[in-house]
Symmetry: C2
Subunit: 212 residues, 2 copies
């Protein structure tokens, strides 16, 4: 098999994909076809993994009671986070409406199976974090594949992970990594929401690169 030649046009579109892959918080309520979700997960599992361990695990959350428990978990954690900010920063933070959990039609929790025998521990004796990082790269792959379909994804990290784990009755050996909201975005934009809202600006690249 010969390796494919990616064209300059593809690379331009790929960079466009990176730019339009946003953390989406505002969704239309239109459903997403189950076959499309399956297709995205299939692509996500093409991500790299240490020792080819493939530790990613996905939980599709449809049960309204579990969704309500996750929403409550978020609201409590969000209120506690808000208490740590002051003045205009707190106001700005509140305005961000950080969770799409109420609007997004698809909810996907992501875990890493830290007990899976796959990969036989290869490559992670000195750096054990690489197992979880492999699942994180699968989340990122899902994110990009979704953006290529015009779908938005929002990563909710303002959650008590132990509580979310219990709500979802996931196996004990799994580590909770992320709660993802997926759906058709209400307001597509190439700029990070946090940049639009004045929370943070994009850093110039040069100071982030050292030479040794």
């Amino acid at each position: 098999m010969t390796s494919p030649i990616f064209t300059p046009a593809f690379r331009a579109d790929f960079e466009n994909l990176l730019r339009w892959r946003r953390d989406v918080r505002h969704f239309l309520t239109d459903p997403v076809a189950p076959a499309l979700i399956d297709n995205l997960l299939r692509q996500a599992m093409l991500a790299p993994s240490v020792g080819f361990s493939q530790p990613w695990r996905w939980v599709l959350v449809d049960d309204p009671a579990r969704r309500a428990a996750i929403t409550e978990n978020f609201e409590q954690a969000n209120a506690e986070a808000l208490a740590n900010y002051h003045d205009t920063q707190a106001e700005s933070y509140a305005r961000l409406k950080l969770a799409g959990v109420r609007e997004a039609p698809v909810h996907i929790a992501v875990f890493a199976d830290t007990a899976a025998p796959t990969g036989s521990g290869l490559g992670r004796q000195t750096m054990p974090g690489t197992l979880i990082w492999s699942a994180v790269m699968a989340i990122h792959t899902l994110w990009l594949a979704a953006a290529a379909e015009g779908l938005g994804l929002g990563w909710v990290s303002i959650l008590d992970p132990a509580k979310a784990h219990a709500t979802l009755e996931a196996p004990a050996d799994w580590t909770f990594l992320a709660y993802l909201c997926l759906g058709w975005p209400a307001v597509p934009s190439p700029d990070p929401l946090l940049e639009r809202e004045g929370w943070e600006r994009r850093l110039p690249p040069e100071p982030l690169i050292l030479r040794r």
Copy 2:
């Protein structure tokens, strides 16, 4: 600005990119133009980051003495890792020739700046790991952007991270995440090296997906 429409042809090429993005260990010694490296790093920094914290930090390693120290670090960690495997698994492991550190023309160490004020801690009070995971997603972005140029990347995780940190004289607040080898691949292939070598097989997707 209206959002771009990604075509089915682009999506097919993108999936092809995911399939051909391999962990490469065998490189040609041909150089990679510095402008191309800059372009890849610029794209990598379009990755998502918690609170738009942009914690990724890159160290381009050119100094032969530092490269030699990293190689020695790898060889020592690799020998220790090998001692933990037995019989045919160990032989197979030895045959993998896990590092491209001797051949790859470009060496990039990646860190996360855990003390950076950017993002003001947003989104990581309940899940502090998300800061490092943001830099991991930038590594993955670099990997894909490199693959789109026909470049191969290999992630060396069999290293003592503290020793690598010292070798590279990186700031103390930075966390060492990865040592990347980049170059033109000697043997392009869409199958993981570890699968070709019989180390591990790709898992079927369904058992990795739960419904709740």
